[in-house]
Every structure is written in structure tokens, then in C-alpha cells.
Assembly symmetry: C2
Amino acid sequence: MRYELYYWPGIQGRGEYVRLALEDSGADYADVARSDRGMAAMMKMMAARSGTPPFAPPFLKAGQLVIGHTANILLYLGSRHGLAPKSEAGRLSVHQLQLTVTDLVLEIHDTHHPLGPSLYYEDQRGPAKRRTEEFWKERVPKYLGYFELLVKNNGGSYLTGRRVTYADLSLFQIVEGLRYAFPNRMKAFEREIPGLVDLHDRVAIRPNIKAYLLSDRRIAFNEDGIFRHYKALDI
Amino acid sequence: MRYELYYWPGIQGRGEYVRLALEDSGADYADVARSDRGMAAMMKMMAARSGTPPFAPPFLKAGQLVIGHTANILLYLGSRHGLAPKSEAGRLSVHQLQLTVTDLVLEIHDTHHPLGPSLYYEDQRGPAKRRTEEFWKERVPKYLGYFELLVKNNGGSYLTGRRVTYADLSLFQIVEGLRYAFPNRMKAFEREIPGLVDLHDRVAIRPNIKAYLLSDRRIAFNEDGIFRHYKALDI
């Protein structure tokens, strides 16, 4: 089956966590909205007047199923493609981690958009500075410290043990993104999270991930996405 | 089996969505952390040095399983207690809705905490005012308009059709909470969402919910939770 991923073209955004899972598992998929025609198809599906169209991209078409929300898509893909256990307990456990990543991603977005997603960054520079301070002082140590502890608790390779899951792929993206958005702050912080840096490096050399990162399917980080590099926010 | 729910005592918070599902289905459960001893047990479980302890409350103990994150707990409970379909497609669809509710709940919290969860509201009154304006102008119409459309699309009773799901119980709580936090704004807005108001009323008279709301198990809204009533934010 060929999956169809629907997500905004031009940014990594929330769609990237799905792309990493599809790429790592070598699944056959089309990144539909990266053509004009695909973009029109995406908007049409979101405007469906029956059933439960997704609130927002990303969503995945898998045969007749249309699955919305990043973590939900990963829940669906994970155990089918060896990126999560097949047991219910194992699936719930990895999904729990992904939902914590989801919260973190929203907080990362809020560093440059503390007054809400509909205003420009340029209209909220002052509050963005304050939120970013708070984020690095309180939230990054709490979130990344938690994930670091899990890696240590479970043998030092991945979050849940010796096998990679989609939550590990997502943490790779978190480390990549924080390095892009906050190079100075992240450089100083990385000494606190040696286990996560190792995990990041281990994911980066997985053959399918490595090939993906070098391909033009990987969209570059930019200032329309979740991870944005604004000098004023990176001391 | 007697479930054990672990959540901060004294607030409804994210735990309330789980409580509503447990109460509606008549499940046997203990709200553990509402005693001092239970609170100590909760902190101990979160500090576990093996496996994947949850990042934050709420979490649910179901036999040997410990399930963290509100939406994940509801995913587990839903199809076991008649609050979600049993088919994979149905479960994913209701979970998708719950994840959209999760995003909305975070945005509601940000109205009074735009500069981050670790600072007091009193230290961010100005930004809170701006974020709240934005929230009511752009985000409430987008989110609640979406859910309103689903109710209409699917026959006028509940989000996915004629059978109630845990996502409907959560939307009941959203309507209750917005009425508490923003009575003036919500009163003016409710004319836009007659379907959701009906859904709210239909949930409120379900016998188990009605009994729960009248019991002392239901914690009152207060200014430590997600929905906070600050006059300055409600024009």
C-alpha cells in the first residue's frame, strides 16, 4: 500500500515526525501537498462535510483510512513498521512518550509565538524573549532531563531499551531543531544530556535516515516552521 | 479491576477528562492523590528509576499497566467502557478528536500563562490580555467551529454520530470551563455553536455524570487549574 501524507509544503513542522517514521521504515509514500494539485486535494479533504475530517495537517491516508494528528499517525504506523512494540502495553508506553514530545513541540513553538499563532513574531518580540528565557531555564531541563533519564534507565541506547521507536526518531528531530534554532544555548546545554546526544547520533546514521537527510525530500529548517532561528532569542 | 487514577489534588486540570470517562462508565476507581499518603505514592511512581515513568500526572494504574497522558488513558479506557468504537478505524478517529481537544486545552492554559507555566499570572497580566484577545478572536472560532461542524455533519447528537464518546465528555468540560473562565465572552459566543451547547446539555443529564457533578468527587473550578476566571481577561 502506498501511503499518502498530507502536510503543508515548505516546512518540516509537525509533519516531519511522520516523515521520519515513514523514511526510516522504508514505507512507500507520497508527500502529496508538495505539488499544487496535491495542495488543492489537501484543502478539499479538510473541508469534507461528512465524517470527521482532520482539524489540521498532518494527516495520513492509508487505504480507506484518513488518520489525523501527528501522534495518532505514529500510533498507527509504529507497530506496523517495527517502530513500536506490538503488545498493547508497549504501544501505549511509546505513545505516552510521543504525547510528551507533542507538548514539548508546542512549547517550542510558543517561544517565538507566546501571544498566539495568528500574530507575527515581529509583533511579539518582547514577550518572545521572556518566554524563551523561561523555556530554557525551566522547561528544557525538565523535558530533556526526563528523556535523558529514560535513556539511562533503559540501558543507554534508546528511550525504551535496545530497539528504536518512533519516539526516538522524534527526539532526534528535537535535538536537530534546538541546535538550529538556539545554537548557542543548545551548545551549552548539551553537556547535560550526553545520552540524548548519543541517541541523536545513533538515529542520524541509520541508513534510511541518513539517505533521507541528504535527499531533497528533507525540507531545510526555516523561519516559517516550529524551530526558528532568531538571533535575539539565542544569547 | 479497580483503577487507580493519579492526579494533582485540588484541581480539575487535565485529570478531569479522565474522571469524566471513569464516572460516566461507572468504572470502579480510586482518585489516589487526594489523600496525603496517595500523594506520596504518586511522587514515588514518577521518580521510578526504571521503565518509562510518566512525565507528569495524570496517569492511570490498570492492573500491572501504568498509562500516562490524558489522551492515552482515554484511548485505553474508551473501547473497554463503551466510550469509543472497538474497530481500529473508530478508535483512531475518536483519539484524533481528543488530540485536538488536547491542543485546545494547552491554548486555553496559555491565555493566562503566555510567558510560560513556571511564572505567576500576576507577572504576565499584559501579555495574558493580548493572548486572550487573540484566542477569542481567532482560535475559539476555529476550534469550536470545527467541533460544531462535526456535530452537524454527523446527525446533530454527538461528535461522531448517535453514540457518545469520551471526546464528547471532554467537550462538555470545555464548554463548562469556558463558561466559568470567560462568562461574558462565552455568553456572546454561544449563539455560534448551538450544536455544541446541545451536546453539553445532553452530556450533563447523563445519570452518572449528573450524579458526579453533584458529588464531592467533582472539584470546583478554581484559579489554580486550566480554566481560571480573571475579570481582566473577560470583557
